[in-house]
Subunit: 141 residues, 2 copies
């Protein structure tokens, strides 16, 4: 199996709310909600870097399709990290997330590994780390 992830799907409690957060709050392009709520196929997709997409999918539909128990709302066993090119961009992105309605988990601070990072939580509890890592070059936006 090659080391590859093609889609990361996040279970959400309210698909429209989640789409608004990522599309309007964070500014991520999307075609919006596709599929059918009645058929448990309603979802929204966001292109990330080439070859990988983020998908938002109702938690109940996800549990049904995959066959795993839903965790309690607001908890998450996955952390999503978003690296930025310059140290000051951490605070900029965190501010944008906060304005979009994210809950700030940890304000940006210097890290033990020589970088600078903060954490926020999307409306469904999925945590994001926003990080500058001097050893991880990122193309400046």
């Amino acid at each position: 199996m090659k080391p590859r992830i093609s889609v990361l799907t996040l279970g959400v409690d309210d698909l429209a709310r989640a789409v608004a957060f990522y599309r309007d709050g964070l500014g991520w392009p999307t075609r919006g909600i596709v599929g059918s709520a009645e058929q448990h196929s309603a979802a929204a997709f966001f292109a990330l870097q080439p070859g990988i997409q983020l998908a938002l999918f109702p938690r109940a539909s996800l549990a049904l399709e995959v066959g795993v128990a839903e965790p309690p709302s607001g908890t998450s066993g996955c952390l999503l990290s978003h690296n930025v090119a310059r140290r000051e961009q951490v605070a900029e992105v965190m501010a944008q997330a906060a304005a979009a309605g994210a809950r700030i988990l940890r304000a940006p601070r210097d890290t033990a590994w020589g970088g600078h990072a903060g954490y926020f939580q999307d409306p469904d509890g999925h945590p994001w780390e926003v990080a500058w890592n001097p050893k991880w070059p990122v193309e400046d936006d």
Copy 2:
């Protein structure tokens, strides 16, 4: 905020077991466990496609660092999808995962959206979809 994910971190109950699953079972290169268990910094990293890594991190350390509640072990609010180039590769990858100790959630079957997919669960309950999508070209391994 640009649509970008740099690292996907999965919370695990047993870091060595998780590393063995991905490294030995699925064949994914890694430097193995780095950092310090005592300092809650022990983790393992796997390079996926360029610009994105998978990280394995003890659940308790993750909850401590990020400040979110741990979900119960064996549940997950995130689905990871791995697309393959050819339809028959779905079964091949599923078989490899099963041999590695994955729990098979759903055997491969044709999907409503015109593809072919199955699901397995890693030792920590994180679900993977293995999918062939005729509309999603993937470089053949």
